[in-house]
């Protein structure tokens, strides 16, 4: 089974990298840009047929390594 995980900074956490990208895009002439925030993306393939159990394992991976729960949120989606 294949899952995708998106990791984003929590709303109230500053995103300096995103701000730099935003300023650069505005300097390139993209004046309609209101806000941009950067995050991480993982594509995870797992050897497990049962969906709830697979999702649970992905969740464990997020909590143990992929996500800093203090400043980040994450979302798990099934791809295939």
């Amino acid at each position: 089974m294949k899952f995708s995980v998106t990791v984003t900074l929590k709303k109230d956490v500053l995103d300096p990298q995103g701000k730099v990208v935003q300023n650069t895009l505005i300097n390139l002439g993209m004046n309609d840009l209101k806000n941009i925030r950067q995050g991480k993306f993982f594509e995870i393939e797992i050897d497990e047929k049962d969906e709830p159990s697979a999702k649970n394992k992905i969740d464990q991976m997020c909590k143990k390594l992929l996500v800093n729960l203090i400043i980040e949120d994450y979302k798990i989606n099934k791809v295939s």
Copy 2:
């Protein structure tokens, strides 16, 4: 309008960062893990009411700055 952009390395491009994450997860006991690849994620808010035109602007941002088209693929999704 709000869009999300996911940027992933093309299939044949090596992903050393993903490999490190994969090895670490396996060392943590996640033996079912088959493959993991890392990418980037952007949440972009744009001041444009017309959807095709907004999408087109996001596409320009990707091509001009966010994505390295030689080694990366990208996907644009409307969020709201």
